[in-house]
């Protein structure tokens, strides 16, 4: 836990608000899943909010982001309107992928949010390519990709780390280490559990960060981006965190210990940070209530928007398989 919050009040509160926005969005999404309004797979981010918030606030708005199937928070913080996210989960044409992608495939070209990737390990080489393009176009925009610790066992991850290091590409590899890949703990899936040591051996600078502390996340990301802007190539950040809910709404929770879950919940990024703000006098109870109300209102408006959404006409199903139309 950072000793004190080193930000002006407004920004400090914004971080809390954004974590609340993700949390409330997801809690509502879980309900909607229970009601059958959202279907397919729904991977919740609850417990990990500090990471998306801390990292995305450090990135510039035109930096590129590639995420995973657990990406509601990243999309939201990248600037995808919440209502377009909820509408997407509803399968509506007003969704950010026209309802074709669902929870796992949020996309938004405008904000350079490149998904939403449901293949474990898929985000890394895509980010390498985006960074390569930017370099070749003499651009200065950076690329960040997110993935879980489980993805580090995939060959794609090793290949991508090597490629980024070899070509000194400015990719920020953000590993959200929530200790489990589905039901398999890190220690049961990787011989090397010190992820930074593993990554470091690929010649990618790596640092481990408390992923439950939004300030630590933000500061570590800023430092890494600074290094990258100096032309040092990629950086890897391990964010130690925890999922508070089961892996996916479709799955049970057979593998994690209740006591472990409870211990981590005590370190929940929202209430600890909120308490810190209050202790530092950056927020009072009324202020906190106001933020909560703002987040809740945004969620309700987003749900109302999705409820009022429409379906893509079936006649359009074959559109966009290719750029030009194709009759089958």
């Amino acid at each position: 836990m950072s000793l004190s919050v080193p930000y002006p009040a407004e920004f400090a509160r914004q971080l809390l608000l954004d974590m609340l926005r993700i949390r409330y969005l997801e809690e509502r999404a879980a309900e909607l899943y229970g009601e059958g309004k959202i279907r397919g797979f729904l991977h919740l981010y609850i417990g990990q909010e500090a990471i998306a918030v801390g990292v995305l606030h450090a990135l510039a708005s035109d930096d590129a982001v590639v995420a995973t199937y657990r990406e509601h928070g990243h999309a939201l913080l990248k600037g995808v309107p919440m209502r377009a996210i909820v509408a997407e989960m509803y399968g509506c044409r007003e969704g950010c992928s026209r309802g074709r992608g669902g929870s796992m495939h949020l996309f938004d070209a405008k904000t350079r949010f490149f998904g939403g990737n449901a293949i474990v390990g898929g985000s890394l080489p895509l980010a390498v390519g985006l960074a390569l393009a930017e370099r070749m176009r003499d651009g200065k925009r950076l690329t960040a990709c997110f993935f879980g610790e489980g993805a580090l066992a995939e060959g794609a991850a090793a290949e991508s780390l090597n490629l980024a290091a070899l070509w000194r590409l400015p990719v920020l590899f953000c590993c959200e280490n929530n200790l489990y890949a589905m039901g398999t703990s890190l220690a049961r899936s990787q011989a090397q559990t010190d992820l930074c040591a593993k990554v470091h051996a690929f010649k990618v600078p790596a640092r481990s960060v408390d992923g439950m502390d939004v300030v630590a996340v933000h500061e570590a990301t800023r430092a890494a981006l600074g290094q990258m802007q100096a032309g040092c190539g990629p950086c890897f950040l391990e964010f130690r965190t925890y999922r508070f809910r089961a892996r996916s709404m479709a799955d049970p929770e057979p593998c994690r210990d209740k006591a472990e879950v409870e211990a981590w919940k005590k370190r929940g990024p929202i209430h600890t940070y909120g308490a810190q703000l209050e202790a530092q006098g950056l927020l009072d109870e009324a202020g906190r209530r106001a933020l909560e109300a703002e987040a809740a209102a945004e969620v309700e408006a987003a749900v109302a928007f999705a409820e009022a959404g429409s379906l893509e006409p079936v006649e359009d199903l074959l559109r966009d398989v290719y750029a030009s139309d194709w009759t089958q």
Binding site: R39, S97, R100, I119, A181, G183, T184, V314, L318
Partner: protein
Amino acid sequence: MSRVSYREALRQGLREALCRDPQVFLMGEDVGRYGGIHAVSRGLLEEFGERRIRDTPLSELSFVAAGIGAALGGMRPIVEVMTANFSLLALDPLMNTAATLRHMSGGQFSVPLVLRIATGAGRQLAAQHSHSLEGWYAHIPGLKILVPATLEDARGMLWPALQDPDPVLIFEHGALYDLEGELDERAVVDIHSARVRRVGSDLTLVAYGGTLGKALAAAERLAGEGISAEVLDLRVLHPLDDAAIMASVCKTRRLLVVDEGWRSGSLAAEIIARVVERDFHELHAPPARVCSLEVPIPYARHLEEAALPQVPGIVAAARGLLS
């Protein structure tokens, strides 16, 4: 006879194999503690222990290739790949090693590997989790491709697959896991023949895996219209049971293939080609197929439904053959 789900029938098959042969083991992502992403292997870790129910890291290429190596080394591995979508990561060892090794070594090596792979769409899992690739895999010589569509096959195909000295891929359709029915535990199951699931005389509906139920439902509706459809369950996609296909088509003189794969290059095309190559003048109508539209399967329910073969479309196509 007992009332079970497809998932439970699969689990019975696994339990029996693990009990019968100490060289059989199961490995894959989350097959152990988690019980398998489709809950097929739930309880097996407790019963058979960590040695034989092995959770793997997220490394599809290497644990499939390690399965090949373990088969070479004298074991009888059952490797679960969570879904066909991820099996693409393991195609190199499958096509370049498992499928070639016996032949290119001059017959010296066997790869008695069994792969279990969930396949198919229908659960709103969108483009990266909905491929139906079993028909596509049937292109690869050296592999055998099985598609259990009934409870008996779900339970019974595993053991003969394990007895087979060659690599066998068993594709379980994701929409079938919850299917329930009466399982005849004494059913003898082979892994080389197709099977007539409904006898008919006016046309042959060829189906497999996820489309068998739809073909049977269509046949039922057609019966209401006075059309007698025979339904042939392929069961084995490679090598195909030509004789069974020809026998049915020679009788009905009309062929409609129902295939969840994308149309171009579908297994349905192969079946049509085989039939017309041999029995061209015997047919009363052009052969036809109902396949998935050639589109990444979308999330939205109405779009996903429109992309996949459905009963009304099958019925309409069948009517078309008779008009």
